[in-house]
């Protein structure tokens, strides 16, 4: 506790308490208890004997010496005491008063000793006494008055833990007391006392009507809004009030409200400036793409943020959410500069929970949920399909007798009378169950004393997939089980040394089909409804094209009987942290060393059946019986296994310093770290390494003017030795306006802070490539046996060699000059609280200029030189935007509510990229956002005669020759001839729509609690986001014209009847070339609004039938419960864009119920 009080050399007495609220409840407890003792018998100053022998020392040094050996605490007013005056004191075993008399002899300073507090001031003595009374009032100590009534009570925190040192007062009076070590209090109050006010540092103050009640059990809740809230920052933590960078965080409690398996998805909408895009919902592989403040490099891959768990680079998405205390996002240069080379895209810091001193607290949770797709593709049935296909062929001018589907087939599709010969399958419904269960359990224990604290947690998650298991192999499915464990231990070895150990890990058990998610979904989504009859009596029935039409027999059941694979992934993370207080060197200096080791071991066992079950093709004999032609055979599955290992370690050592000198508050940090990753692609034999040196200085004056300076000095293996190191400085300033004297008299703002940061951060990442500086590299390829198909390398000389001679290729081209990509970031922020602290608002404006972006120089290489592209520093991107966070919290009687909207906007623009000269300005990608889609400008759906005139009228030129002019028919897309050459070519494409990451995200959190009920909901949306539609929407029947037809396409395609309302071109095969390319027709707005989370809970504080429990909570929650989107064809995030980005496992909606018991 001596420790803590050193920071109290603050002159301004009125600010005394705020400064002491160091949130360490434990130290506070001791302090307050000792204060209480002081009032019962003020003997400390008389009983304490001090020895001070100082020659020519300053008054300050004398005070420090006294504080050093006693519990005395000096308080003085700024400017009233000359601390630099030199005195000589020789005192052995003297009382305080004797020493002080000598020190202040001959000055106009006087002092008052009140137990351990020593107040120094100037005469007259009255003024000083007045100050003391203010101090005592602040302390909320007892000034006894005549009483008529005695009340008793007990104060605990929300977990049932007694709160010693809480202040209990009668509102509007100076009558009060503080609670004892067990949280109990006794107080005599006037009979007419109305309201009892109970407060404690870091807790929300509670007011209770007194009435006739004489015993009060008061539960105080934590007040996270208080000024003393601490936020996690790079390599440490900082008081939120003094933070000058742009940082936002979400607590573990909030994260638990989203019943998602991947933590990444639980972040959606909870953090301003963070956008998540979930492309797949596959169990165990549903991590979203996460972007902090959008995209600022030339690719979305190059814009991925750095993720750290407990200060070490680790993946966080599969950690049990019950283990997480806090997730913090660092956004601007000031916050991320210390990460140097890695910090350019923002940093996600995940902190796990740690033990608190107190009796063991056990928390057990279990929940059960049901997952069901949010929204997925819907396909037309066989009858509609056949009609639509024939209609398309008729439109192409095909004769009736050449149409793909016969009249007879169409009738059977309609009647459904011969389902084996004329199937009508809704494959998604057939193969996927409407819902699948998901369960989660966790037990954790935490507690400790002042020597040792612990947090131990064990959790499990079981997530079933939606696949039906048709085969006899019950494991032929997708499922995911995860078992998480963690033990975080903190040991105070003695006053100086402490040690922490974190052991965290998980075992993931993933079952999947060997053919993989993408290929299975392609099969399902591209199959036509008549392509097979599924599994009938254990037989895989395929279609006979004689009945269902040419080529219409590609059923999606290839996975049936193809086996399964099981991957067990074992992840272990270990941290060992030693720290020491180096007060003997100088006050406030700490030393820390940390070592971390991470290992991942994945074992995959695969049972793959290349030739699964035989297929049965139906024929109808003349007598009407159906016989089957069998082809193929059932083989035994082949077993194979593979293990993958990765490991990495991280070490850091640091010195940090924090001290107050009068009104000057200084901290400093110097840290060295290095990390090494083993078996990284593409040189598994050469570990990847990083080294970094980190420096930080923060300074504030009177907690009013804040200044931070951060610097990272980093080295990366990707650059040549002379280009290897980069220095990344950032500075920020802050001004807490409400601390100014002239702001004291206003009551609009209870808190107002302005901040600005400027700095440079770097990036060395380039698509996973390593050693970018190395000279051209060649590969020698082994001579291989090649059956058929082309040998990729080498050559097959001779007449009957089955082996190719070896070949060698030039693969890479290095650039010795390549170096950091740098990003200059600026951030202006305003934090304020107003309306009596009910409205909290944060506003951030940012601007980022990325330059020297690491790209390949492809665009500069002339084809005939055939140079292998090499990495260069080229390209500039500007990204700017703003974030607004509002929080309104109020209480009406027992009803507490919070409404917290937030809004983020970020827009990037390519200022310079490697782009070849274009003939027309609108063809340049430069000047547009990264990944801007380009396509044709749609004019109208063609109507012979009319469109030509309309075009001429609008553009004053003849309608241009279209891409598919030869087969142009009514309902085809007509594009605008941008360059006016009369022909639609690639040079008529321009920027259309938005990229597939959103520019704007917004959310609204609402929480309400009434007595024991509480409700939380989170609405989250995104806009200025687009998707260019290709497969499976476009071309409508697929590339080979035998694939399923999406109902949304079917319903919106042009027909003569819907010519006025159609939004998509006619269904055609002959003129696909005209209608398929990306144009404003296929560019869709993928904006959405989701009810991301909803949780309703009920908490019972003392469970009557379970004496040992302190509280129990039951709740129901859900994720993605409602989705609204302009795009109606599918879930707006799962739309799929481009040829690579095909549709995958659907997004999940989860309904979940659970309970939590605290012991």
């Amino acid at each position: 506790m001596k420790e803590k009080q050193h920071e109290q050399h603050v002159g301004n007495i009125s600010r005394y308490f705020r400064q002491t609220m160091r949130i360490m409840r434990l130290s506070l407890f001791f302090m307050v208890v000792s204060t209480a003792i002081a009032f019962s018998a003020t003997t400390y100053s008389q009983s304490t004997k001090l020895s001070v022998n100082l020659r020519d020392a300053t008054v300050r040094e004398v005070i420090e010496a006294i504080e050093e050996q006693s519990e005395f605490l000096f308080l003085y007013q700024e400017g009233q005491v000359d601390l630099n005056r030199r005195v000589t004191i020789h005192a052995e075993e003297k009382q305080l008063q004797e020493i002080l008399d000598e020190v202040f002899k001959g000055t106009d300073n006087i002092y008052i000793v009140s137990d351990r507090q020593v107040v120094i001031g100037k005469a007259p003595r009255k003024a000083l006494e007045a100050q003391l009374s203010v101090l005592q009032k602040d302390l909320k100590t007892v000034i006894q008055q005549p009483q008529q009534k005695e009340i008793t009570g007990n104060v605990t925190d929300s977990s049932g833990e007694p709160l010693p040192g809480a202040t209990v007062m009668v509102k509007g009076t100076t009558i009060g007391t503080i609670t004892d070590a067990d949280g109990n209090f006794i107080l005599r109050i006037p009979a007419n006392a109305q309201t009892l006010q109970v407060s404690f540092v870091g807790m929300k103050t509670v007011e209770l009507p007194i009435g006739n009640q004489t015993n009060f059990n008061v539960v105080l809740e934590e007040d996270t809004e208080l000024l003393d809230e601490v936020v996690v920052i790079a390599y440490g933590s900082q008081k939120k009030v003094t933070v000058t960078g742009s940082v936002s965080n979400v607590s573990g409690t909030e994260i638990l409200k989203s019943p998602t398996a991947s933590l990444g998805n639980a972040l959606a909408g909870k953090l301003p400036g963070v956008s998540t895009i979930q492309y797949s919902g596959l169990p165990g592989a549903d991590d979203p793409m996460i972007l902090v403040r959008g995209v600022a490099s030339l690719s979305t891959g190059g814009s991925a943020p750095l993720v750290m768990v407990d200060g070490v680079e680790r993946s966080f998405t599969q950690i049990d959410p019950n283990e997480v205390a806090d997730i913090t996002i660092l956004k601007d240069a000031s916050a991320t500069a210390v990460f140097g080379v890695r910090g350019a895209n923002g940093v996600i810091l995940v902190t796990t929970k740690r033990g608190k001193a107190g009796k063991p607290q056990i928390s057990a949770t279990a929940s059960f949920g049901v997952q069901t797709p949010t929204m997925f593709l819907d396909y037309v049935n066989s009858y509609e399909y056949a009609l639509a296909y024939n209609q398309a062929q008729r439109g192409d001018g095909m004769a009736e007798n050449e149409l793909r589907f016969s009249e007879e087939a169409i009738q059977h599709f309609k009647d459904g009378d011969l389902p084996l010969l004329y199937p009508d399958m809704d494959w998604i419904d057939y193969i996927m169950k409407p819902m699948a269960p998901q369960t989660q359990q966790n037990v954790n224990v935490s507690g400790g004393n002042d020597r040792a604290k612990y947090f131990i947690s064990v959790g499990a998650l079981q997530q079933e997939g939606l696949f039906r298991t048709f085969a006899t192999d019950p494991d032929e499915k997708f499922s995911y089980n995860r078992y998480n464990y963690r033990a975080n231990l903190d040991l105070n070895i003695d006053q100086i040394n402490s040690l922490s150990v974190n052991i965290g890990g998980r075992v993931e058990d993933k079952t999947s089909l060997p053919r993989g998610e993408q290929s299975i979904f392609e099969d399902i989504l591209f199959a036509s409804p008549m392509s097979g009859a599924g599994i009938v009596d254990g037989k895989r029935i395929v279609s006979n094209t004689v009945y269902v039409g040419t080529d219409m027999d590609n059923d999606p059941m290839r996975f049936y009987g193809s086996g399964h694979q099981n991957t067990v992934n074992n992840v272990v993370n270990l941290d060992l942290i030693y720290s020491a207080k180096l007060n003997m060197i100088t006050q406030g200096l700490n030393f820390k060393i940390k070592g971390s080791y991470n290992s991942t071991y994945a074992h995959t066992k695969k049972w793959e059946n290349y030739q699964a079950y035989p297929t049965y093709k139906p024929y109808m004999l003349e007598d009407g019986t159906i016989v089957f032609e069998t082809s193929g055979d059932k083989w035994k599955p082949e077993f194979s296994e593979v293990t993958d290992v990765w490991r990495d370690w991280y070490a850091e050592t640091s010195l940090d310093y924090a001290r107050k000198f009068g009104d000057h508050d200084v901290t400093a940090l110097l840290l060295y770290n290095q990390s090494k990753y083993y078996y990284p692609w593409p040189y598994p034999e050469i570990p990847r390494g990083y080294v970094g040196l980190v420096g930080r200085i923060t300074y504030n004056y009177l907690s009013r003017y804040l200044f931070d300076f951060n610097v990272g000095y980093n080295g990366s293996e990707n650059f040549a030795p002379n280009k290897r190191y980069g220095l990344f400085p950032a500075a920020s300033i802050g001004w807490i306006v409400t601390e100014e004297g002239w702001m004291k008299n206003q009551n609009v703002f209870s808190y107002l802070k302005l901040r600005y940061s400027y700095g440079i951060v770097g990036n060395d990442y380039m698509g996973g490539r390593r050693f970018l500086y190395l000279p051209p590299e060649y590969t020698l390829h082994e001579g291989i046996y090649v059956g058929y198909g082309g040998g990729q390398h080498g050559y097959n000389f001779g007449t009957s060699n089955t082996v190719f001679v070896r070949g060698a290729t030039e693969d890479t081209s290095g650039n010795p000059d390549v170096t950091w990509e740098t990003s200059t970031k600026q951030n202006i922020g305003i934090d304020l609280r107003t309306f009596g602290d009910r409205l909290n608002m944060n506003l951030d404006f940012f601007k980022e200029n990325r330059k020297n972006i690491l790209i390949n120089n492809d665009a500069f290489i002339t084809a005939p030189s055939a140079l292998v592209p090499s990495p260069i520093n080229y390209g500039k991107v500007e990204n700017k935007g703003l974030e607004v966070v509002l929080n309104w919290t109020d209480k009406v009687g027992d009803f507490t509510y919070t409404i917290a909207p937030n809004f983020s906007f970020s827009r990037n623009k390519v200022i310079e990229m490697a782009e070849i000269r274009q003939k027309y300005d609108y063809l340049y990608r430069t000047g547009h956002p990264v990944n801007q889609p380009f396509g044709y400008e749609f004019f109208a759906f063609y109507q012979k005669g009319k469109t030509e005139d309309a075009y001429k009228e609008k553009y004053g030129a003849d309608m241009p020759t279209q891409l598919g002019q030869a087969n142009l028919g009514d309902g085809d897309c007509i594009y605008v001839d941008l360059n006016g050459d009369g022909v639609i070519t690639a040079e008529d494409q321009h920027a259309i729509g938005f990229p597939d990451y959103p520019e704007i995200t917004f959310s609204l959190t609402g929480t309400m609690s009434y007595k024991n009920f509480d409700l939380t909901m989170l609405w989250n949306g995104a806009t200025n986001v687009g998707r260019g539609l290709y497969r499976p929407y476009n071309p409508p029947f697929g590339q080979l014209h035998d694939q399923g037809l999406v109902r949304w396409v079917y319903e919106n395609s042009w027909t003569p009847e819907t010519a006025e309302t159609a939004t998509l071109p006619r269904l055609t095969i002959a003129n696909e070339i005209n209608n398929t390319p990306l144009s404003s027709v296929w560019m869709k707005d993928a904006s959405y609004l989701r009810l991301r989370n909803l949780e309703i809970g009920y908490t019972i504080n003392k469970v009557p039938f379970l004496a040992s429990t302190s509280s129990m909570r039951i709740y129901a929650n859900g994720t993605n419960l409602l989705t609204f989107s302009a795009f109606k064809g599918n879930d707006p995030e799962n739309v799929g864009g481009g040829w690579q980005n095909t549709i995958r496992y659907p997004q999940m909606k989860v309904y979940n119920i659970g309970f939590r018991i605290n012991f």
């Binding site: 290095q674 390494g689 080294v691 090649v786 050559y795």
Partner: protein, 627 residues
């Protein structure tokens, strides 16, 4: 002091403990030393040229990229898997996904399709990497310590021939090209704009001359080495290929009094990048000399290159000889062959076999008509089309044996897979035999046979394509002779090729054509002979372009339906082969070509467009006329 000691002890213990985890397996380093490890095992240019084995491997990689229209490692087989001859009058593609039906037949091809999408015939960007590979080899092989000087010069000569073949494969589709005569360094300024046709041709010829003048380059692969080394380029390859290059150069497309196209832009015309600037008879003379040089050197080396000759004089013997000539590896027929696969496989290969199922190689009636009768008279059976065929002419009887090897037509006694008699007519057993691919492959009534055979008898014969073989060599010689006035000798050269399959002398059997005196007729006959000798070997479209055969592009093509006159379908047990057929020909409506519409086809189609992005890079690439 005591405390300090404790700190030190604990610090050491923790440090030790932490790094024990890692350091028991890894070195422990701090600071820059920590990053120093770069890949120690990387192979760079120095290591490639430090051993003969590695240096050779580097050259073999260039062989790997040798031009072939079939399954290739350079992805030449673009156009969505369609053969380029599907633009000629020999093949009409029915391939569902192929670019013929989507892009080319409807006339949708334009300059924007010339890159990015593999939809044009020759992607301009593809040949340069193997050319760089060759130059890199030529420039560095001297450094190899464990290789004889002879081998070095031989391999350099092979590399030069390779460069010439890469150049030719693009030159014929677009005209003049940038001259790349060394391997560029990453730091070097690029300075090779598009060269003229003359410069490009001279560059190829120079490379071939240099190769041919290399003493260590053998004239042919010695018999004893063929098993191991067939496919290596030789002096014979260089001499023969020179003639092939000069034939294209001397052809009217480039060598005429008028440029082939007067459409805008004319930059390439003005800079002589798409023609010679006038008719130069000496070009034919050069081609002739190249042929004579080849044949005389061949003779002085003991004629290692010879036409494969039949073992007897039956139709089966002729067919077998012809198959060996186009297919089998390492025999005397082959001057330059491509070995990118070990054997042909029905389902493993895309081109040509895999897409033959799908209708990429449907032969036209026009192609079928080019095959003469077995005696060497030209085919005249067109008169019975769409008639009742009163004289019961079987137009597929007694034809050039090469037709039966190239096309799947009705033929008595023709086996097909396990059918002793395959019935190629409407309702015949061909439909059962082929199953689902009857529709796409036989949709025109007759099907392809060369390369795919009946899909079952492919054996393990490994070669799939020859860039130059003796059959073509004689026909090049014939054309050069005809153009330089020696019509009689030209006929003799043509007859050598015909004799292999038992056909009579061309001038004798077709007296009305006056082939020994009428040069135009003779050129036409040589082109027809080339079309059938080199059918499905990527020849016809190029001949149509270099000879500017506009009418062949604009005349609608025909399919045929063959019916048994007695109305029957499959032959019943014991039923004899039918003797009377009716032939119904029809103009293709499915995949009708825009070129057949009046005014649509212009000579710009003879050369393809160059990619817009490359032109926009501004290094001196011009666009071809009309694009």
């Amino acid at each position: 002091m005591k405390m300090k000691n404790n700190i030190l002890k604990t610090a050491i213990a923790v440090l030790f403990g932490t790094f024990l985890l890692a350091s028991c397996v890894d070195d422990f380093k701090v600071g820059d030393a920590f990053l120093e490890k770069a890949p120690g095992v990387a192979v760079n240019a120095d290591s490639i040229f430090s051993r003969a084995e590695y240096a050779r491997a580097y050259l073999w990689e260039a062989y790997n990229k040798l031009y072939t229209p079939h399954n290739s490692n350079l992805e030449y087989y673009t156009m969505g898997d369609c053969p380029v001859d599907a633009l000629s009058d020999c093949i009409q593609s029915r391939l569902g996904w192929g670019d013929m039906k989507e892009l080319w037949y409807p006339g949708n091809y334009n300059a924007s399709w010339s890159s990015g999408w593999d939809r044009s015939r020759m992607d301009f960007t593809k040949i340069w990497a193997p050319i760089r590979n060759c130059w890199n080899f030529i420039e560095n092989v001297e450094r190899v310590p464990d290789m004889s000087a002879d081998e070095k010069s031989r391999l350099q000569a092979e590399a030069k021939i390779l460069i010439a073949t890469f150049y030719y494969s693009l030159f014929r589709h677009v005209g003049g090209l940038p001259i790349i005569d060394h391997a560029y360094l990453p730091t070097e300024e690029y300075n090779a704009p598009r060269a003229s046709v003359e410069e490009t041709v001279d560059f190829m010829v120079k490379l071939l001359d240099e190769a041919a003048a290399t003493p260590s380059l053998p004239f042919s692969i010695p018999k004893a080495e063929v098993g191991q080394w067939a496919g290596r380029l030789t002096k014979g390859s260089a001499l023969g290929f020179k003639a092939k290059v000069l034939l294209y150069a001397a052809s009217p497309l480039f060598n005429d009094n008028e440029p082939y196209s007067r459409e805008e832009p004319q930059d390439a015309v003005d800079s002589l990048q798409v023609w010679y600037g006038g008719y130069k008879p000496e070009l034919w003379q050069r081609c002739l000399e190249a042929c004579e040089d080849f044949f005389s050197q061949n003779a002085s080396n003991g004629n290692p290159f010879q036409l494969i000759q039949p073992n007897g004089n039956t139709e089966a013997d002729y067919m077998a000889a012809f198959r060996q000539a186009y297919w089998t590896r390492g025999n005397s027929e082959k001057i330059i062959e491509v070995h990118t696969r070990t054997y042909a496989d029905e389902w493993g290969d895309t081109q040509p076999i895999g897409v033959m199922h799908q209708g990429a190689y449907c032969p036209t009636v026009e192609f079928m008509e080019m095959f003469p009768m077995a005696d060497g008279k030209n085919f005249t059976g067109m008169s019975v089309y769409n008639t009742d065929n009163p004289n019961n002419v079987d137009i597929f009887e007694n034809r050039d044996p090469r037709m039966y090897e190239t096309l799947l037509t009705p033929k008595k006694g023709r086996r097909w897979q396990n059918y002793a008699q395959i019935e190629v007519w409407q309702g015949g057993n061909i439909e059962d035999a082929m199953g689902w691919y009857y529709g796409p492959m036989m949709g025109n009534g007759i099907g392809p046979y060369k390369w795919c055979l009946d899909f079952w008898n492919l054996g393990v014969d490994p070669v799939q394509f020859s860039i130059l073989r003796m059959g073509e060599m004689h026909l090049i010689y014939a054309e050069a002779l005809a153009e330089t006035g020696n019509l009689t000798k030209a006929c003799e050269e043509v007859d050598k090729v015909r004799a292999r399959v038992g056909l009579g002398k061309i001038a004798v059997m077709n007296p009305t054509l006056n082939l020994t005196t009428n040069k135009a007729n003779l050129i036409n006959e040589i082109l027809r002979e080339r079309a059938i000798e080199l059918g499905f070997e990527e020849n016809r479209f190029l001949d149509m372009c270099r000879r500017k055969l506009t009418d062949k592009f604009t005349t609608p093509l025909h399919g045929i339906k063959i019916y048994r006159k007695d109305g029957g379908g499959k032959l019943q047990e014991g039923e004899p082969y039918p003797t009377a057929f009716k032939y119904e020909t029809y103009v293709y409506t499915d995949g009708a070509r825009a070129w057949w519409k009046p005014g649509f086809f212009t000579p710009k189609w003879y050369l393809q467009a160059l990619p817009i992005p490359e032109i926009n890079k501004g290094y001196g690439l011009t666009q071809n006329p009309g694009w």
